[in-house]
């Protein structure tokens, strides 16, 4: 992935979105932010990304649902899952 790659950053926490975006931009990535799963799905429908940084624990439409959407629509994108849950079932559901 080159440094002009496009990243979709998904989190429900605005502070996390802003700080992570600023940080990623220092490395010259193009960063699109989506606050929550619903916004993420909208962005994925409209645009193409090289990478999705996806928080799993979000209210309403969570990261698992976004993953289901990506898998169902056969969207070709690398996804890095960000989660505090380390139990097996939670991890298994993310794939």
């Amino acid at each position: 992935m080159t440094n002009n790659s496009k990243i979709l950053l998904v989190d429900d926490e605005p502070g996390m979105l802003a700080s992570s975006k600023a940080l990623l931009e220092t490395a010259e990535y193009e960063v699109v932010i989506a606050q929550g799963g619903k916004a993420a799905i909208e962005k994925l429908e409209q645009d193409e990304f090289d990478l999705v940084l996806l928080d799993m624990n979000m209210p309403e439409v969570n990261g698992h649902m976004v993953m289901e959407f990506i898998n169902d629509k056969l969207i070709k994108v690398a996804v890095v899952v960000l989660s505090g849950d380390f139990d097996f079932n939670s991890v298994a559901r993310a794939f």
Partner: protein
Amino acid sequence: MPELLLCELNVLQGSATSHLKDESGDVSLEKLLSGDMFLYARLLSSTSLNDERPYFSPQQLIQGMGRDGLKAMVRQAATQMSFGQTSPSRVRFLKQLYLQSVLTRTLSEQLALHVLPESNDKNYLIQQAAFCGLFLNIGALVLEQVYSKSYLEILAKSENTAELLNAERNEYGIDHAELGAQLLLSWGVERLCCDALQYHHLDISQILDATPMVKIAWLANQLADEAAHLEAPLWADALFDLKDVSLMETWESAQAALNHASQTLKVSYSTTRYLPLPTSDDVDVLNQEKTALKQLRKNAEADNLLALAREGLSNAGSQDELGQAMGSAARLLFGHGESLLFIYSEDADSLSCLTGTPSRNELNQIVIRCEPDRSVIADCFLGNSAILQSPSEQQAVIDKQILSLLGTDNFCCESLVNSHTDGPCGVLVLGIPLQQIDNYKKQTSLRYEFCLELGKKLAGKQEFLTAEGDVIAGYERRIRETIHEANNPLGIIKNYLQLLSIKQGEDTKIQSEISFMKSEIDRVSGILEKLKEKPEEPEEIEQSVSVNINSVVTSLLNMFSGSFAASESINIETSLDSDLPELTCNENAIRQIITNLVKNSAEAFEDGGTLLVKTAGNFYMNGNRYIQLIVKDNGPGIAASILDKLFASGDNVKSDAGISSSKINSSNISTSNISTPNISTKGGSHMGSGLSIVKNLVAELGGQISCQTTPAISTVESGNKSRKNSGTEITVLLPVSVSKQNTSLNTLTKNNNSADLS
């Protein structure tokens, strides 16, 4: 009557037919009750009336008794009736009396609506009139219940009402009108209302000036008799000046109510009320009665069994007991063999099996993932539907295994709904032998009721387990959520630190400080993560590494010197033993011990001071070598009054010059037996949990901690405290070979004034 009790049982079980539902679609038990004089009378007999629960408001009476109480009453009546004997004339009498009560009730209500003047009390009076109409002839019911055959004979012989009343008075000393009034009076119904019953058979000339309720009840009784219809308008006019039109409206609405009741009872209302029906009808009447009784018996039995099942389920405390109660209840209700309960686990998104038979515990190993087409049980859960499963080649192996384990030809699955959340919570599986298939099809509503009970139990089970701490599911969830919430701002801070680090370039000192901040944030995250550990789980053994305490002290003090020490004029000195052996232990624990001790001392200073951190590696006790870590300050010291609380978890107690103004000198503050170390020695705003953490960490490393202090003394002249020679010295002993040790406290003899805090 069986037909009525069937309706009431159905309503109470929540499976009433549509004609019993009110406009909002809810089943109206009140509506049903207010038209059934038999059940209403039972209810009134067992309820104490007062202003808050007036006799004419079924709704409030039901509230007073509770739905369960009412249900028990209906169940009892149904059971009694299903085993009672009956005769055609009795059945006919009861049905006619019931229909008549429906008719007079509606007529009285409608008449009251038309004749009573508008007032604030009008609704109350209309309800009262309806009540009087319903119970107008309850006296006849009482006589029939008491004298049965003889009363039915009197009824058959009487040509008209006057003859009947005379015969009643001659035979029983009271007629049914007066008896009805007496009964209502005994229930606490007001006198004027009872009068309506007592005088409803008098001649019109005797009631012309009576109270409206008496006149309404009288006219309603006349209108109920078709033979009186020709004269009715004249009477209505004489009593109320009522026009023909409104009388017709009254009659029509009463007729509609009567038709509805006739359909329920499957019998038409006889205008010649008390006379026997033609003999040819008797066979039909009895057959009809037998069919209704049979159905009632069946429903009453099922209802009683459900009550037993409910009791068994509610007594189940543990998971095993729940399985057994479910198994017993299923056998009781459905008569089949095995039953299984699959309980949904949201975390695992799977269904775990719980067997109803204690000897079949191997079934408890079955866990089915909630995904389509994996098992008919998962499909049942996902589709929230009932499924009857028969053997087939295509079925999943787990389904074949379940059939084989159940030992039946078929099994059915019923999804269960959590009564609190309305979400699916499990699946009931019943093994069904081939010969029971027909029976299975007839038991749909019973299975539905049983599943409702299981859904209630499973909803309650979660609460129970949470309350008992078996799972502490709710508590753990809250902790996970809190940790997640707390980690968010920490992550944001780390991100900005990283940004800062990038912007600052290669300034080594700044980079080192930023790096330190990031590692401290990681430490907070680690501390938060430890909250997730369950109390019963052994604490995760932190990775032990070789630790040079001098290096840790140097690194930490470098940071402190540039932060609070500089801003608060605190001079930090060190005296580090260069021959200090290394410890094999958790470095984070050492860092936390030193940090807490240094910060604790530093925060006790009011206007700066000197802090000494000393290490020594040549301390021996009971043949074991220890490293000494001493943190000494020349602050205000710790007063004796709080010294004995030192290291108490979370106490807001700290060293304070004000407290130490009591004249205590260093020789009499020595404390040799502080068995519960704990307390902060800080200024006013700090919660003193730091030292209790240090104490726990030291204990974890097999070490000991002690405190030696000299409080500041206040001088009389100035009122200020003298800090000359005051201060605190905390000594930590860490075994070089770290293992949990239980060294006797009295062997710690280095200093007689040391406070033993281990």
